[in-house]
Symmetry: C2
Subunit: 378 residues, 2 copies
């Protein structure tokens, strides 16, 4: 289990502890997969099982303590953390709670992510039990986690770049693996297999749409509906390499596109170009949203925003939205995802993945063609 050098984890912990010091926070409790992986390197698909809770405690000084089910001991031992305390989970009568209490009883103020895009990954009745047995004031650490995870290390950027390269190569093969009359579900299947062949570890996310002149639903699994001339088809993938995501899409006209689709696609493409010119460290995400809205000549977005952070999760902070005033910083990885209504029905969405650099941002996805690519012509 060495996705990273140990120095990566040392650096993450040091940054966390510096922020905890600034907020006068003695300790922080983490319960969710990305957070525990961020600080330990513990990477497993075992989180698919909801049965067992996992805990990590980060003190303001010193090393973290993992309080985890016995079944994870072997893997956690291969990680960076030495202080690993286990119980024979599942054990509903005490699923790690006494172990948690034995540490937390030393504190009156405990950090916990409680804000936007977070949740508590433990049974609520166990959390209530902690509150009954301890005198703890919970302190929201969403801001600490956000600040840490939004800015990526070069090692993290390299992993995201790797999966973006993989997906870019697979998207390039869509004209080969698609055909008029093919059920959408078959195209999705072929695309997934190609992603695996190109080196993706997994494809936790592949959604898309098809419609004439364009699609309306952008989060659905594929149906068996057959690709037909005159339609637009979109595939959007969050594929994963060593626990890091890409998240971008590609649109294809099946046969000659209508003028409304061509025009909408061009507008989106230009909006992304303008955004690439505009993005610099220090620019706020709300200003970026405004700039993209102006270029699109729309003030609304059905998806609620024009992009978001990307990394260990498919979507992360920040949001490119009018309510998010995050200042872009060097080495933030974000998506640019403008969307627009198409004359005649449906929407069109395009997406690219970039990393903010000192100067012009660096594209991680291979830039989409400036004209909508056409498939299905003989």
């Amino acid at each position: 289990m060495q996705d990273f050098e140990i120095s990566e984890f040392e650096h993450r912990l040091a940054r966390a502890q510096r922020l905890m010091h600034q907020e006068d926070l003695p300790v922080m409790l983490l319960t969710t997969e990305p957070e525990i992986r961020y600080f330990t390197g513990f990477r497993t698909q075992f989180w698919q099982s909801p049965t067992r809770p996992w805990y990590l405690i980060i003190p303001q000084t010193g090393m973290p303590t993992a309080i985890i089910p016995e079944i994870g001991f072997d893997l956690m031992q291969k990680c960076w953390i030495d202080d690993i305390r286990c119980w024979p989970a599942p054990r509903p009568s005490d699923d790690g709670i006494k172990l948690l209490e034995s540490i937390l009883l030393n504190y009156t103020k405990v950090g916990l992510p409680m804000g936007h895009e977070t949740h508590l990954q433990m049974p609520l009745e166990n959390f209530n039990l902690l509150n009954k047995n301890l005198r703890v004031n919970w302190h929201d650490t969403t801001s600490i986690i956000r600040q840490l995870r939004m800015v990526k290390s070069e090692a993290e950027i390299n992993l995201i770049k790797s999966i973006c390269d993989i997906a870019s190569r697979s998207f390039d093969k869509i004209p080969e693996i698609s055909s008029v009359g093919q059920p959408l579900s078959e195209l999705f299947r072929s695309f997934k297999i190609d992603l695996l062949n190109e080196g993706a570890d997994d494809i936790p996310y592949l959604v898309g749409g098809v419609g004439e002149p364009s699609y309306s639903d952008v989060i659905s699994p594929p149906t068996d509906r057959r690709l037909s001339l005159g339609e637009t088809v979109m595939l959007d993938t969050g594929a994963v390499y060593k626990g890091y995501y890409c998240d971008f899409n590609r649109n294809f006209a099946i046969g000659e596109p209508s003028s409304s689709v061509k025009k909408a696609y061009e507008t989106l493409w230009k909006t992304t170009e303008t955004a690439l010119d505009y993005i610099r460290p220090g620019v706020s995400t709300s200003d970026l949203f405004q700039m993209m809205s102006d270029t699109l000549q729309t003030s609304s977005s059905d998806v609620g925003r024009f992009g978001h952070g990307l990394g260990m999760q498919l979507t992360e902070w920040p949001s490119i939205a009018n309510w998010d005033h995050t200042r872009l910083m060097e080495n933030m990885v974000i998506t640019l995802e403008p969307s627009i209504h198409v004359d005649g029905g449906g929407v069109l969405v395009t997406e690219e993945n970039i990393v903010v650099r000192d100067g012009r941002p660096e594209l991680l996805s291979k830039r989409a063609f400036s004209d909508i690519p056409i498939i299905g012509l003989p």
Copy 2:
């Protein structure tokens, strides 16, 4: 989006409302993917994104109300639910909370799953806000959800049977797609591709182990370590078809197995046979655990249990464990997962998927060979 007939959802709702009536519970709030999908049919990989919360409210009489982000409106409209209320999420200043309050303010007692294997999929600060603005007594509905989801309909069993068939066919091909000297990661990749070719929609879970004479870590992603003669390799997959999981594994000796591995495998195989003879409606899972312990001549299990429920999630209630006294009922789908220490080091785990029937249970996975299969011989 028609994984099921509408009557399936009508039946689920009626069962829920009967149990709510018995517990004198006027309303129930659900926040997690399987629960919302169970009652609506809303199936999307968009849950990979942690950004937006999703809510479903089930009253004791009448139809459910979905309170969901705008981006899900199109897909939810294709489902069974008519009362869909949306907001332009993400909107951290009010991410659906006012909409939730507008319904919940009519109640003083509200159900919420709070027990084992559940969690609250919303920011804790939003839950605190609800508690501040409403006078609600939360009532744990874990037992209601458990009772509903543990017993499967024939339509659900058919989907689980489909994915078990798919995985059984792929496991049968391991001798063809594996070879001595092959990196474990390559075998995993080939196996995943085969699962997709055989008809799996996704493979959210594929873990395994390799070791001599056996493995110790059963939740890890694969390394690039090469398969070597004298080792045992195990692959354990949770593949998915239309939102339903299989969860079983297969073991292979690379070259001639050691006598300790052969003996351990035989003991596990016989334990499963004995369990298949023993399992009937009315048998408790703790008695089943005891019977399996006796056959294995061990009282402990490093994985904490000898099997579990299976369906919309990789692991579900009940547990085959000494602390779980669930009475097996017809149409419960469970895994049988005995594990044993191997002389010379490591453990061996086998797993099958079955459905409890009136009489002998029905195997959903194709039964493993009675002797450990050998790969890698010329």
